[in-house]
Amino acid sequence: MAFQIILNVMLAFVWMFLSSNYTATGFIIGFILGIVLLVIMRRFFTTRLYVYRIWAIIKLTLLFLKELVLANIQVLRVVLKPKLDMQPAFFAYPTVLTQEWEITLLSSLITLTPGTVVVHVSDDAKTLYVHAIDMSDVDEAITAIRDSFEKAILEVSKS
């Protein structure tokens, strides 16, 4: 991925030198032409095009913003309820992510959405211990995290 980005920037510079147009406009034109060339030559790379990965990062950001709003409304309902019938609980979340930055990102996303806090990462980094403010069904919460955040992070880190 990093190699493809550097190659794209170098192609943009080559375009600037060939057209002797040393402005930001020339750089952007060269960069777009470089993307087109990379798409044409995509079969020769061992990894997938970096454009897909950037698209996955954008999707993960939008998903996080959506979850943030929804979870805030849920916590607001818990707080404003006249009856105190919430069910706080700890549960273990078995994660399939392996790399350090993936685990950090998943923990941060779970913590930043209100209602759930990651309190501990197990020593073999295979289990996250999560505290939830109001939870009736453990399996439901686990599948919710798995289908939303973990899938999006795996989409980003797929080579």
Binding site: W101, I103, T104, H120, V121, S122
Partner: protein, 140 residues
């Protein structure tokens, strides 16, 4: 009991670069804007201290093999060196000078010997702060 601090270490790897960049910016902004050698040195030292918090001392020493007492001494030497240098030009002690030099690509840039003096201050602050933190953290 050793807990798994994977989140602290991963965040430190990213954040240390931001802190060091901010420190260098503050150091160079000191001439016309808030900042300068002292606060720049403090921010740089805080980045190094964050590394010591996330990793153990041996790992950081492998990456930064400086003796921080010598760094502090070098800083004082630089600061007093600019002060003594003014004596060679028949100027009073601690006189600083500045001039504009034409650099080939960047055009006219202002250079000042105060920058060297401030670099000495920053190095002294980094050396002293890290030496203090390391001295009180070692369990003999």
């Amino acid at each position: 009991m050793k807990i798994n601090d994977v989140i602290l270490r991963t965040v430190t790897k990213t954040v240390v670069f931001i802190i060091l960049t901010l420190g260098i910016y503050l150091f160079f902004a000191g001439h016309h804007a808030p900042g300068g050698g002292f606060i720049g040195g403090l921010v740089l030292a805080s980045g190094i201290v964050l590394l010591y918090l996330a990793y153990d001392i041996e790992t950081v020493h492998k990456g930064m093999p400086f003796d921080f007492k010598k760094v502090a001494a070098l800083g004082v030497l630089l600061a007093t060196g600019t002060a003594i240098g003014s004596l060679f030009f028949d100027a009073p002690f601690l006189t600083q000078t500045h001039s504009y030099i034409n650099v080939p690509i960047f055009g006219k840039m202002g250079f000042s010997t105060v920058t060297i003096f401030e670099a000495g201050v920053a190095l002294t602050v980094v050396g002293v702060v890290v030496t203090i933190i390391l001295s009180i953290s070692e369990d003999e």
